[in-house]
């Protein structure tokens, strides 16, 4: 597929003084995410980030060509940076006036995403660099996400070449675009792990050297051999979703969703209405699958014997507002109002911040899913000597008394389907509540709505 976008309007984005991407049009956001960036994180497209850095350093507007590359295609851009004076915090706007995509030459090659997934299963890491050995993407063993700090930096700034290999020989191989074999490297910072790198030069369709794809095998003589054997023997290790299949599935699913959304919003040009609607269905199904993958990862995590939660000092009122904020768009789609405690109120408790938020998002999300349009969801807080409590009450059909225990079981859907649920949310939420020394209960009657109450150990404010 060749994409050639003759856009009447430039693709726009905005970064702040620290290089954080504040806003971006969908095409730029998609590229940023595919380059290893995160929403609210630093701009991760190396050449664009470099242009922003130069523009800020000089205090000048630039107009330059830039290139980017992801698993699917290479993108040629013409970029104009504009400084936006705004007090002390100088922001920068990016206008990409030419955006042209062309596919990589993948004839006879194994799909790089598949290669990466196999690498993960085998306990290897993967690093992609551009022609100047700057890191475009990096996923190392035992790391769940991409190492965003390394993106855009030179490989030789992050790793030291370890003898008997020689620095000069590595540079020579790169200059001659030769494969790199058994190159031992040590991380410069952090845990200073040792890796053995194997690199394959990447040549694009135009015959131009586009960088390297490295695999990084941990080089720890005492443990790595044992671990590798154990993993290889099983093909898939015990922590199936948490560290292997989960991350491996999330990226292709993310791509499906992003591309389907691009098609459904007709960003690349006109499209028949029913096709746009099919694309919307694909995006919706993709999101459902992604939720399922996330739930299965959580399920695998909480069933591990070593699973623990942190005991953070949290405020349940604050968490309720955060959870409601995350679901505000979904609620307004159904004209549902979420009635929250006053923001100035406080209800201190003890529990892991992230996991408590996850439970509340699950409870309020379920309430939105099973409430009639135009109804109200009430979130209330209370406390006694031992526990702080937060309850979520909806105006849905309610749950019959005989079903109230079953809904906390794994994959229990009470015969419902097609509503985007996986049947794991409440099971996971109750397990998390127990792990934090609390509980999750339901009070309901058929036809009269439901109230789910999360209780967590109280924390007296000093």
């Amino acid at each position: 597929m060749t994409l050639s976008s003759k856009l009447a309007e430039p693709v726009r984005g905005q970064v702040d003084f620290d290089g954080i991407l504040l806003s971006a049009d969908p095409l730029l956001m998609r590229l940023h995410l595919r380059s290893g960036g995160a929403e609210g994180g630093p701009l991760a497209v190396p050449e664009l980030a470099e242009l922003c850095r130069i523009s800020r350093r000089l205090g000048m507007n630039l107009s330059r060509a830039a290139q980017a590359s992801d698993d699917d295609c290479r993108i040629d851009m013409w970029v104009e940076t504009r400084l936006i004076p705004s007090g002390n915090d100088q922001q920068l706007s990016l206008a990409i006036i030419d955006w042209k995509e062309r596919p990589h030459d993948d004839t006879g090659k194994i799909d790089s995403a598949r290669e990466r997934d196999f690498d993960r299963l085998e306990g290897r890491g993967a690093i992609r660099t551009d022609a100047a050995l700057r890191i475009i993407a990096q996923q190392m063993p035992l790391e769940t996400g991409q190492a965003s700090d390394a993106i855009g930096q030179s490989l030789l700034d992050i790793y030291d070449v370890i003898p008997p290999s020689a620095h000069a020989r590595l540079l020579e191989s790169v200059a001659e675009r030769q494969p790199i074999r058994n190159q031992r490297m040590r991380e410069k910072g952090g845990s200073q792990r040792l890796f053995v790198l194997q690199g394959q030069p990447l040549i694009d369709k135009a015959g131009i050297f586009a960088g390297y794809r490295f695999t990084a095998t941990p080089d720890d003589p005492e443990t790595s051999g044992k671990d590798r054997k154990a993993v290889a023997g099983k093909l898939i290790s015990d922590s199936l979703f948490g560290s292997q299949l989960g991350p491996a599935l999330r990226q292709p699913l993310g791509k499906i969703i992003a591309n389907a959304e691009t098609i459904s919003s007709k960003l690349e040009g006109p499209l028949r209405g029913d096709y746009a609607s099919y694309a919307k269905d694909i995006a919706s199904a993709g999101r459902h699958l992604l939720d399922l993958v996330n739930d299965l990862s959580d399920l695998e995590a909480i069933e591990r014997p070593e699973f623990t939660v942190a005991a953070d000092d949290i405020d349940l009122v604050d968490l309720a507002h955060r959870a409601a904020g995350l679901l505000a768009v979904k609620a307004s789609d159904h004209q549902i109002r979420i009635d929250l405690p006053k923001e100035s109120d406080k209800l201190p408790a003890r529990g892991e911040f992230r996991r408590s938020l996850q439970i509340l998002v699950n409870l309020i999300g379920n309430a939105i899913r099973y409430s009639p349009d135009g109804s109200v969801i009430k979130v209330r807080v209370s406390a006694d000597d031992e526990f702080a409590r937060i309850s979520v009450t909806d105006q849905g059909d309610g749950i019959a008394a005989e079903d109230q225990d079953r809904i906390f079981e794994k994959f229990e859907r009470l015969g419902r389907s097609g509503d985007g649920g996986s049947g794991l949310g409440l099971f996971i939420s109750r397990r998390l509540a127990h792990a934090m020394g609390g509980s999750l209960t339901v009070a309901s009657a058929a036809g009269k709505g439901s109230t789910f109450t999360l209780s967590l150990p109280d924390r007296k404010e000093s």
Binding site: K6, G59, N61, S63, D98, A132, E176, R177
Partner: protein, 353 residues
């Protein structure tokens, strides 16, 4: 003591003393300059015209930057110092001499820029011996009717930019709008320091004026950037029947930008190659870009000053894979290439064993 020995008036006497002091300060560099002229590190030839052009260009650029900073300082920031008001009104700038004597203009970035500009002017003059100015100006018009409106619009942008910076044959147009951001930046701060010294004005006000000047500079209007963008669009849209780049079909700026685009090199590198003996690296770049023999010979002829010869046999025997490998290595970041050279030198001893 000296004043009494010579029967000169006070002013003249002071001038001689100042001059003598300046010479004394610089005397230690005379041998360096002579050594450079006597034992050059390269065999690239710089003629007097290039030197003179580069000097005129430098004077023009520094004068314009001085004037812009002074205009902002006086009109926007309310500075009233006489000397700055005079410069803002177009009076002769005074920074060049100060900066030259201080050595502040002798940075790699500035010198490289001056050399590329001078060489580009040489190439333009050579080209005009083979094609008329009007034919050369007509080269871009063929892109104005391009099927892709984006290309047509970019070609129009380049035409407009070129028309704004036209200078006499063999001269370099010192247009501020034509400078890349890094070069403006490299010039602007030494000029600011010089203005602060000359005027005795608080450097904070001049700094503010310079920051405003830098923020207002728009490199997107320059010929080089317009040519780069058009080259990018043409190369993306390239159809099978499209011809390879040629200075007599594309004009000099677009030819350089297209060859740079095809080889992954910078435009400045391509210009530098044309100054080197036998234009050997230009030949290798054309071979890497897979120019057909006749086209390569024609380009070589168009850009050569008549001293060099390229034969079909020589070009045909140049191995394309090796040419590609070489061009790839030249396209690597400069500091990477420098490091490679140092490491290669270090390992020479090992190889010799």
């Amino acid at each position: 003591m000296a004043q009494r020995v010579f029967s000169m008036n006070e002013t003249m006497n002071n001038d001689i003393i100042r001059h003598a002091s300046a010479l004394a300060d610089k005397s230690s560099f005379i041998a360096d300059d002579f050594a450079q002229a006597l034992f050059p590190k390269t065999n690239v030839f710089f003629n007097d015209r290039m030197r003179s052009n580069a000097r005129q260009y430098l004077r023009g650029v520094i004068g314009q930057i001085e004037q812009r900073i002074c205009l902002i300082a006086t009109q926007e920031l309310g500075v009233t110092q006489d000397i700055l008001v005079k410069i803002a009104a177009g009076g002769a700038g005074q920074s060049l001499n100060l900066l030259e004597n201080s050595g502040l203009l002798k940075t790699v970035e500035i010198v490289q820029h001056l050399f590329v500009k001078a060489q580009q002017s040489e190439l333009a003059a050579r080209l005009l011996q083979k094609i008329s100015q009007s034919d050369l100006e007509a080269t871009l018009t063929r892109h104005l009717d391009h099927d892709d409106p984006v290309i047509a619009e970019a070609a129009m942008g380049l035409l407009v930019a070129q028309s704004k910076t036209t200078s006499a044959v063999g001269e370099i147009s010192a247009s501020l709008a034509d400078l890349p951001a890094e070069i403006v930046y490299a010039f602007a701060w030494p000029v600011t320091a010089s203005l602060a010294r000359l005027s005795g004005l608080s450097s904070l006000q001049l700094q503010a004026a310079t920051e405003r000047f830098l923020a207002s500079h728009d490199e997107s209007a320059s010929v080089a950037r317009k040519a780069d963008r058009l080259a990018q669009l043409i190369e993306q849209a390239k159809a099978a029947e499209d011809q390879v780049p040629h200075p007599m079909r594309d004009g000099l700026s677009l030819f350089i930008a297209r060859l740079a685009r095809q080889t992954g090199l910078a435009s400045d590198q391509i210009v530098t190659f044309t100054a080197e003996p036998d234009m050997a690296r230009l030949v290798v770049a054309m071979r890497a870009a897979d120019f057909p023999v006749q086209e390569a010979l024609s380009v070589f002829f168009a850009l050569d000053d008549g001293d060099n010869i390229l034969t079909a046999a020589t070009y045909g025997e140049t191995d394309r894979d090796r040419a590609l490998a070489l061009v790839t290595s030249w396209a690597a970041p400069r500091s990477f290439q420098d490091a490679q050279r140092v490491l290669a030198d270090d390992s020479l001893g090992d190889r010799a064993k």
